[in-house]
């Protein structure tokens, strides 16, 4: 049993709160991704788990052991740094062997484990080189080998792929996922790249300004964002969020946006009514908005600002009557409306989300 449990973990640097009362559990054999924009406290949180940074408040357990006062070297973790942090004066072999030597593993055992780790990461031919004689991708694999050579309780990875070019990153992503499966490793993986988070994570923890916003599977986080921050952060192009007044038209709740009205999902309407809200933010992903012919009921009128062609799809950015922007994502086989033309946009209400405009919290 080597899960990691954080309770009320907080870190203050002077006046800035880098991590604010975060509680979560990383299950055994789970790859949990910490995702968030730059400066949201991901690295700080990871470093507190590693023991490299002291906590201001809270408790961290690895397995059943509270590790608040345990030295990094005794936490039985392995870490992969963004900079790789390879020892430049040691050969690749010595780098991979270092954690074993530090833990007094006998010599033959060490040789065996180094060979195995090198094999696993395809480094056998480079064992006698110095890190400066390796490419970025190879260095990255050495850093991984140094982590997997021992079987630690968990792996901590701080943006390990961010120094690689796009192609190598995509390839390494897949290798990492395979490695995780093969080792049945528990991994806490920090990234600000949502593609990495969505494709690799069993669960994703989204942080903003040190506060845990949502914890769930990639699909949950995408389908049911807990608040406006998550809604806007996950997905490219980001979710459309338009503000409107709550009204009732003929018994059904509607959001009034300019002259148009969009029918509300029932649960959201009930929640909004319970909170006594007058206004609401309607969230719709660009793929859930369609350009429709004139006369469709419940559609919004917009003026086309730009059309972005991406080859496989196009993004039509329209401006509503009250100035708010709405993006439509549609296949490139569909005709692109000319700029400045007026279009009608239909929202697929069953996929719409509603948020409290003040707190940003999800309604319904």
């Amino acid at each position: 049993m080597s899960g990691i449990t954080l309770s009320g973990v907080t870190k203050r640097f002077g006046d800035t709160i880098a991590v604010d009362d975060v509680s979560l559990t990383v299950d055994d054999h789970e790859l949990l991704v910490l995702l968030g924009p730059s400066g949201c406290g991901k690295s700080t949180l990871l470093r507190m788990i590693a023991g490299l940074e002291e906590m201001t408040a809270g408790e961290i357990r690895i397995g059943d052991r509270v590790v608040n006062d345990v030295e990094p070297k005794d936490r039985d973790l392995a870490m992969v740094f963004q900079s790789y942090a390879l020892y430049p004066h040691m050969t690749v072999r010595a780098n991979i062997e270092f954690p074993l030597r530090s833990r007094k593993v006998p010599k033959d055992q060490r040789a065996l484990q180094v060979a195995e780790a090198a094999e696993m990461l395809d480094l056998t031919d480079y064992l006698d080189r110095k890190p400066s004689q390796l490419s970025g991708g190879q260095r990255q694999r050495v850093a991984l080998a140094r982590a997997v050579v021992r079987r630690p309780a968990a792996f901590l990875m701080d943006e390990p792929l961010s120094n690689l070019d796009a192609k190598l990153r995509a390839a390494t992503r897949i290798e990492l996922v395979e490695l995780q499966r093969r080792l049945e490793a528990t991994i806490v993986y920090v990234t600000h790249d949502q593609v990495e988070a969505m494709t690799m994570g069993h669960r994703v923890a989204i942080l903003d300004r040190g506060v845990l916003q949502q914890l769930g599977s990639p699909q949950e986080v995408y389908d049911r964002p807990a608040n406006l921050f998550v809604a806007r952060f996950i997905g490219t192009p980001p979710m459309n969020t338009v503000r409107g007044r709550l009204e009732t038209a003929g018994g059904t709740p509607v959001v009034r946006i300019g002259a148009d009205g969009v029918e509300l999902p029932g649960a959201a309407a009930a929640a909004a009514a319970a909170d006594g809200l007058l206004e609401i933010v309607l969230g719709v992903r660009p793929e859930h908005v369609e350009i429709v012919t004139d006369g469709t009921p419940g559609a919004l009128t917009a003026t086309v600002e730009v059309v972005e062609h991406l080859g496989h799809e196009q993004h039509v950015v329209g401006r509503l009557g009250d100035g708010q922007l709405v993006t439509v994502r549609q296949g490139s086989h569909l005709p692109a409306p000319p700029a400045k033309s007026s279009v009608r946009l239909a929202v697929r209400v069953e996929h719409a989300h509603c948020f409290d405009p003040e707190t940003g919290a999800r309604l319904g």
């Binding site: 590693a50 070297k73 740094f81 900079s83 004066h89 270092f98 400066s132």
Partner: protein
């Protein structure tokens, strides 16, 4: 035509360039180049036993005589002993203080200032401080050693060189501390963090990360420290004047004595060339190694 003009322009530029370096050329010429060349000529002429007689050209005879003399060997041995006594200890102490001060703690700036303060102390001041400490009547060191009233450490041939070395180490510790601190600054923090997560305790991190990463600095300090030690003069002149019984008569001091006591500038010139060759070799070694050193850039 334009080629002509550009040639004229280049000549003008060159002229201006020479004019600009002329002042420093003159200074170097008078104080470095001329004495340097003159020194070689001195080495080839034997100084007459009585002043006023003409100098005699003797070729390499004098060079051979001096280099094979026991007096030269003795002072060379003392000089090397002095280097061995001062350089390693200076580096180790500087490193120790630098490691101690390399912590983000409140008030550390005060310690850093204190540790580096001997750089701002002149050799003369340092020597006078230690002369007082070593004084057989009033010196604290003699008192602590229980030698009050006895033969002073500076008067005892067995301890004089050590006493001068202690003074020198103290004087150099500031520079050593600054060099080592700069070296430590250059070691990326994440290497220490990686080592900590990899299970290395403080001692292991020091031996396997700090020291190897510091090896260029250590090497540089050793060479520069040796060069400085080979050239040490002030503290010897003030503390012992080469004595007692030549126990601290290092190469530079013996050169000084040859010229200003014995008036034998021929012998002094040969020793000066020997010293020059030693320092030159050290300098070349330093430059070569610095050039060849693998860059630890990641």
């Amino acid at each position: 035509m334009s080629a002509q003009r550009s040639a004229r322009r280049r000549a003008k530029d060159a002229l201006l360039g020479y004019a600009l370096v002329l002042p420093s050329l003159v200074v170097f010429g008078v104080f470095v180049f001329y004495p340097f060349v003159k020194n070689f000529s001195l080495a080839l002429h034997r100084t007459p036993p009585f002043p006023g007689l003409p100098k005699k050209y003797v070729g390499l005879d004098q060079v051979k005589d001096v280099l094979s003399s026991s007096e030269f060997h003795k002072s060379l041995r003392i000089t090397i002993e002095f280097v061995m006594l001062t350089v390693p200890v200076g580096i180790v102490l500087g490193l120790l203080l630098a490691v101690l001060a390399h912590k983000q703690l409140r008030g550390m700036g005060i310690y850093r200032t204190i540790f580096s303060s001997t750089v701002a102390t002149s050799v003369a001041a340092a020597s006078v401080i230690f002369w007082t400490l070593f004084n057989p009547q009033i010196g604290l060191v003699t008192y602590w050693m229980g030698r009050s009233g006895d033969l002073g450490v500076l008067e005892d041939p067995k301890t004089a060189l050590i006493a001068v070395a202690v003074t020198t180490v103290w004087q150099n510790i500031g520079l050593s501390f600054i060099l080592m601190s700069a070296g430590l600054q250059g070691v990326p923090d994440d290497l220490y963090e990686a080592a900590a997560v990899d299970g290395a305790d403080g001692a292991r991190r020091f031996w396997h990360v700090t020291l190897p990463m510091l090896s260029p600095t250590l090497f540089f300090s050793a060479v520069v420290g040796s060069i400085m030690a080979f050239q040490a003069f002030g503290q010897i002149d003030i503390l012992t004047r080469g004595g007692p019984d030549d126990a601290t008569n290092v190469l530079v001091y013996s050169i000084y004595e040859d010229v200003f006591r014995a008036g034998n500038d021929g012998v002094a010139a040969v020793k000066a060339i020997a010293l020059f060759v030693i320092v030159l070799i050290l300098t070349i070694v330093q430059l070569r190694v610095a050039e060849r050193r693998v860059s630890y850039a990641r």
